[in-house]
């Protein structure tokens, strides 16, 4: 069974047609990388998966729940789907540990002792054990992003969405964040959907690459195939642009 399934999905911002007839299946445990030029609808697509953007037509099934239906409960959906943003979006008024422990405490009602243990283990995993009592504004961008990843993981989601997680980072910070993401991709059975311009990361860990342009999926291929032998002309062009940079 597919973990995420788009069927003829259409998305409009007012009159603007942002997603055009999207059909896509993402299998459980897979890592899918979404690429394409700026404005092609990557963020829009990924944000429909956790209901941050509503779709206007078609069906979108996430973990067995059709979230296109009016009545579907976004709060239950979001327990199963975590998201990491370009600008981290850590809670500015909470410490690092509180950032990680807040949602498990009030949404999952996780026991406080267990909650702290899990949070500390996750901080260790992202290499920030000594930052638990810091506030986000005391961290570097790379550290903030690793905390954001830990915060998402603390909810033990089935699906983890990444929207350009390294685009706002200084070059020397990018490696640490990508390392954490690779670790998750390899060591867990999490389904990951990643919007990124990091082609090295895509080559190494993606099972599938999806290329978008102007709101439509132009090509979807297994990663190796996509990089070695892209089928569509626009994908070729795009690849030559990003790879020659």
């Amino acid at each position: 069974m597919a973990m995420i399934e788009f069927k003829n999905v259409e998305k409009y911002y007012g009159d603007f047609h942002a997603l055009k007839n999207i059909n896509l299946e993402i299998e459980e445990g897979k890592t899918v990388v979404l690429i394409g030029p700026s404005g092609s609808g990557k963020s829009t697509l990924i944000r429909t998966i956790n209901g941050l953007e509503q779709i206007q037509a078609g069906d979108l099934t996430v973990y067995g729940e059709n979230i296109a239906k009016k009545k579907s409960d976004m709060n239950i959906l979001r327990k199963n789907v975590g998201m990491v943003f370009q600008h981290f979006n850590l809670y500015a008024n909470k410490t690092v540990l509180e950032n990680i422990m807040l949602a498990p405490r009030i949404v999952l009602k996780r026991d406080e002792k267990e909650n702290r243990e899990i949070a500390e283990k996750l901080l260790e995993m992202v290499g920030l054990s000594d930052k638990g009592n810091s506030y986000p504004d005391m961290l570097s961008g790379g550290q903030e992003q690793r905390v954001a990843i830990a915060r998402s993981l603390a909810m033990k989601p089935k699906v983890l969405l990444f929207d350009e997680p390294t685009s706002a980072l200084d070059p020397e910070m990018i490696g640490d964040v990508l390392e954490v993401m690779k670790k998750i991709a390899r060591d867990s059975d999490m389904t990951m959907v990643v919007v990124t311009h990091e082609m090295g990361f895509a080559k190494q860990v993606a099972d599938q690459v999806i290329f978008m342009a102007e709101g439509a999926i132009i090509e979807k291929s297994p990663a190796k195939e996509f990089f070695e032998n892209p089928k569509e002309e626009r994908a070729k062009q795009f690849l030559s642009q990003v790879l020659n940079h």
């Binding site: 956790n50 941050l52 976004m74 709060n75 979001r78 327990k79 789907v81 975590g82 998201m83 943003f85 600008h87 981290f88 979006n89 850590l90 809670y91 500015a92 008024n93 909470k94 807040l102 949602a103 009030i106 949404v107 999952l108 954001a148 915060r151 998402s152 909810m155």
Partner: protein, 211 residues
């Protein structure tokens, strides 16, 4: 001056107590109403936004004296209330409109990513509002809120117009019986300062502590 203070000590203290009481009650009510209407204004619901907008514009743009007189003269014909109650209600509603505008500005100045991060993290809109957005919003608007609180205390002198027995009312009474207007009103001013100065310093302290 000392003479007036000692002979009318109990009147001053009584007025001071009423002013303090009315101010505290109005502050609590206006904070609750103001925060509530601020949230209604930013809620993703056009109708609710409009209702909040109308409330705020009405109470922000009509003089406090008119609002208070409305309760004291008109509303009392249907619901019995004395001047103190009518004045405190008028003061609360009037101030709440300004607090709503202030808090709304605070909410809007919190990065939109905070709400998105919280929603994506599994929090409901209200949990995100209460735990993440409002604390940050209040922190930002402590200085203008402090101004509103001080205005509220000073505006409580409206009670004098509706026989509210507050500090200003007592001052008027004392001045008209002793004819020593200068000393009386200086003393009245000093009593107001006893409330507003500590309030002002407390808000500054909060601003620095939370910065």
């Amino acid at each position: 001056m000392i003479n007036i203070l000692t002979t009318h000590w109990s009147d001053f203290v009584h007025g001071f107590g009423i002013t303090l009481l009315a101010s505290i009650i109005a502050l609590i009510i206006s904070m609750i109403l103001g925060t509530g209407f601020a949230i209604l204004e930013v809620l993703p619901n056009k109708f609710v936004n409009l209702v909040a907008r109308i409330y705020i514009e009405i109470f922000r743009n009509i003089p406090l004296l008119v609002v208070t007189m409305f309760f004291y003269v008109v509303v009392t014909q249907f619901i019995k209330m004395n001047g103190l109650v009518a004045g405190t209600i008028g003061l609360s509603l009037y101030t709440s409109a300004f607090i709503a505008e202030t808090v709304r500005a605070g909410i809007l100045s919190v990065d939109k990513g905070q709400m998105e991060g919280a929603r994506a993290n599994g929090l409901t809109y209200w949990q995100a509002m209460r735990i993440i957005i409002l604390p940050q919003a209040f922190k930002i608007v402590i200085p203008p809120l402090g101004n509103q609180f001080i205005n509220l205390v000073k505006n409580s002198s409206i009670l004098a117009f509706v026989a509210g027995f507050d500090l200003m009312y007592q001052g008027n009474e004392i001045a008209s019986t002793t004819f020593d207007t200068i000393d009386t009103y200086i003393l009245v001013g000093v009593f107001y300062l006893i409330i507003t100065l500590p309030l002002s310093y407390y808000m500054r302290y909060l601003e620095h502590k939370l910065a």
